[in-house]
Assembly symmetry: D2
Homo-oligomer: 343 residues x 4
């Protein structure tokens, strides 16, 4: 039984992690911290957990956390980096669901996140926890940087094309649409139901924090920098990301459907749909799958990839548990077999 701690469980990533952990047969949640809610039973804040999670939130405490085999950070950006060195020193393994360890260059991190990095020396050690790319490294890692939600959907959609060198990497376009839960549970005017429902808009077109993360991942796949235009949009729904990806084909003779199917044949959580399909975000609601379809409209030289995930599962808590399973040698699908809720 893996002894698990969660730091910061009051947001949407946190409650989703708790939901999944409660149903995981090989993990035991032993501590969950929150300064603001210390003392309150978790199930009081999240009534869906009544009867499933009996713990109360507690003040972060080094001893309790150090007694864990694995600690998940479901905190705002900038928190994990202040606690990770001590935990690693105590022999605890860490999965950070925030962005603290996602970028390898400290200066770049500081530029996009607007604060100095508290432990830049750990950036190199941190493993970017995308199992489809880094499985072996994840298995050995002490410190996992769990990927962002947009970066997961976009990279999984682009990777086969880039790894095979089939597209012009100077002109990649990722038009991504996210449900509102991606913005978190923090009280804010812009994500009120009255502002965000019956409405659609792009945001952060000049530059979103997930841009450097995606560029870094795509550059790793191609071996050189890529030119990427990334436009995120807020969609009036709770869960789901739909990435619509555009690239110019250099070689129009390849069977792209076969390429994607081969690339993801052994991946338990990437599902390549039949040719001609249009994946729906609801087909992964609550599930850890990424579903992908590939199109070449009018047989032209533009390839269109459609990639959907649940931002809170494959884009956050589910991918984190997948990483945990790999780190501790469990079958990868353990605790992640639940089926998407439809309708």
């Amino acid at each position: 039984m893996i002894k698990v701690g969660v730091v910061g469980g009051t947001g949407y990533t946190g409650v989703e992690l708790l939901r999944l952990l409660a149903g995981h047969p090989g993990a035991e949640l032993t501590v969950i911290t929150s300064r603001s809610e210390a003392g309150k039973p978790v199930a009081e804040l999240f009534p869906n957990l009544r009867g499933s999670v009996d713990l109360a939130f507690s003040v972060p405490d080094s001893d309790a956390l150090s007694a864990c085999d694995l600690v998940f950070f479901a905190t705002p950006n900038g928190t994990a980096m202040t606690m990770v060195p001590e935990l690693l020193a105590a022999g605890v393994r860490v999965v950070d669901l925030a962005a603290d360890f996602r970028l390898q260059q400290a200066e770049q991190w500081q530029h996009w996140y607007g604060m100095e990095h508290a432990c830049p020396d750990f950036l190199e050690e941190a493993v970017y926890g995308m199992p489809e790319v880094n499985r072996a490294a994840v298995a050995q890692a002490r410190l996992i940087a769990n990927p962002g939600c947009y970066p997961t959907a976009v990279q999984l959609g682009f990777l086969p094309l880039l790894e095979a060198g089939l597209v012009d990497t100077d002109q990649l376009i990722a038009d991504a649409k996210s449900g509102v839960s991606g913005a978190g549970r923090k009280a804010a005017t812009g994500t009120l139901l009255c502002e965000a429902s019956e409405n659609f808009k792009a945001y952060a077109v000049p530059g979103h924090r997930h841009l450097p993360e995606i560029r870094q991942g795509l550059a790793r796949a191609t071996g050189k920098p890529v030119g990427l235009t990334f436009v995120p949009h807020l969609t009036p729904m709770i869960r789901g990301i739909h990435a619509t990806l555009y690239a110019r084909l250099l070689d129009s003779g390849r069977d792209l459907q076969a390429l994607f199917e081969a690339r993801y044949r052994d991946e338990p959580f990437v599902d390549v749909l039949p040719a001609g399909a249009h994946p729906e975000t609801r087909s992964v609601r609550g599930a850890n799958h990424c579903r992908i379809a590939i199109h070449r409209p009018q047989q032209g030289n533009t390839v269109v990839v459609l990639s959907v995930i649940d931002n809170l599962v494959k884009g956050a808590a589910g991918q984190a548990l997948h990483n945990m399973n790999i780190m501790f040698g469990l079958p990868e699908e353990t605790g992640l077999t639940s089926i998407a809720l439809l309708p």
Copy 2:
């Protein structure tokens, strides 16, 4: 392993039944029928089931169904009654998720459902499958009439009061609100997103089919006919029923909170919230629980009970599986432990 057949799996009750059966360790889905979709893989119609359900729909076939231990009917009203006698004769047990066997009086059924009953002789044998009331009979039953969605939420909320004789049963009011999935997956103008979202309305105020079913259940609890006003409303969401129940207290001295807690102490799927709480439908989304709170505003003589369920789970497919578990002697929570999806 219980060999299970499903007749009519193309609606929302059907897909929910398939989702739950796919995760049930003691049941094996062997046949699923649909005339209109025969030959099509189930996962093509419901992409959430890709990788979990490999069957294709087939034309209804007596032999295949007769080889099952249990057949669920997830068909429109009026279908099960034409097939049930033959299946029972073949030794198959049946759970009907439609209304064919819910009312004990054939004439009443005919009045409300607008057609003659095909096998009125079986109405008496049929067991109304609400485990919280009929557990022992369910265990022995060959034929289960699975309760309607509104009747489940309303009866569970009223029962403790009526069984204890605490309220005026001539003036009961059930103001119920349902998500749109209660209307099914049939193409219809009234349930289009553009008609039903950003909108709220009552419907069927002069008389809804669930009215006689609720009255019958409440009369069973009190031993005499009850006066009930039942007003259903369509709510702009997919899943969930919220019943707001009003009754006039005859005895204002009783501790209603304690009464409800005692009544449901041993029920795995009825959760009485702490005093003062307001249950949310999302706290049971995808889960088989009914959550209930009891209020007595301004300490007056009107008791207000709030009762929420997921209409497709506790109000349909989940309750059907609960009945199956009881019928076949499995632990009651088998396959029904998944936690509500929040947010």
Copy 3:
């Protein structure tokens, strides 16, 4: 041209007031105040007003407000009462869209609103601005207490029954459902899209601030105190209130449809639907109408009234403009003729 000022225009009541004023041919908006947004063009905060409202928010200023013929307060509760005496003394007429002057008893106000009333002497003078009840007094008033949203829908639905003495006023039930805009534009966790969409719940069952306001209005109609149970619910949509009202008929011989039609025959903004109808909130979205239907299910002794309004229009800004039209002798429908947006 009526010179109009608006104090506090940054909430939903405010922006709706601005939308309606911008289309009103007899009113000229001359000042709109907001401490927090002072200096910002109104159309920057509310982009729907681009091209229609050129003003910027300004710091509240006595001189500018005193130069108005009429000042609307679209402020949180407790603000208007601190400024009204001075404005009235300067000869300005006032419509308060908040609750400061709605209750006639200062102690009751203090009990429900949790603060001392700043000018209790004005409570008696204030006219409760429901034109269907107080038209003549509104015309003469210096100070209007614009009714709350729930109280508008509930009172208009109950009034004909109470005025005619047809129902048991000890056992009135108002089960009301509101869109989320009723909670305002303030950042708050509970009204985030991810909390309030795909969800339905009751709230404030032990006691809501609109309860004493409704009771006061109903008592005025009957000449004696009434017994009312009022349960508000939060509905996953932006605009609209649906009140479902229940009362026990004392005299079952009256033609209720005719009674309601007669009562509201000359009212421009109350629409009694044909017998058997079910009003939809979207039929009044953006419009100043209240639409009402009357039912007597199964010809029993319980009457059910269905009453819908747009909480931001008839329940707030539209009713405020209606009052302005009456106060200044304009045709009552001036500026209020726009048709509900459907779908």
Copy 4:
């Protein structure tokens, strides 16, 4: 007073046309036809029109329509073309809101719409009713092809760039998102609330009927064929289109903001937002505006244009009335001044 007839008023385009016509001071609706609803008062089908539209639907009748000055067709594709020649011969002017006269090549029309064109000789005469491009021709036209919703949003966003020759027209990308009302009021499974809410998906990626219409319009602007990838998506809301447009800049030295502002300076219904803005679909809900913002992320060579409209107004009924105003010499904004409903 323009005598107006409407053929086919039972869909969403129809009800929106009726809403706008009811508020238009220079038009008088004299006949509205529907075979399926003949005899039924319009306000019975669309309760928002109670009190505003007193007509009933009637069977299409040549005499009644021939007595009109202008007939709008709000019919499915393929209907207008069977009636237009006779109406024009009778001296009636026509605005077709469907697609019958949008493509200039009959063969192309037949390819995309799957039926033979009934009057191909009229395709050349028909004026594509986009005032921002064809104002002078609209004024003289007998027959207007009212643009499609996607084509309106996409063309208005691309036109300034193409007219100025600033972008590579071989690699245009239009990623468009539409509310569900674009799919019409027809009963269909795919647009049920339970299918389309809490969900996001692309559709028709291999080829959508609006593709040739957009290409034709863009080719007109550049004088040569363009290469366009067009991906439409279904968004869980009722109204609104958001087009996100991508093009490669050939000349990165131009001030794009100034270019757009100059191009649309005199257009009453195109609003170029300040630099850096992100238009929201709700800012045009119910209004006839197109709001546009221009971005050049990270100062690269990809220009991103964001363009929003209400698909039922600027994308259908509002643009049709705008055309009517121009055809009959009225001020262009007549009847189109209402402000978007927000929230």
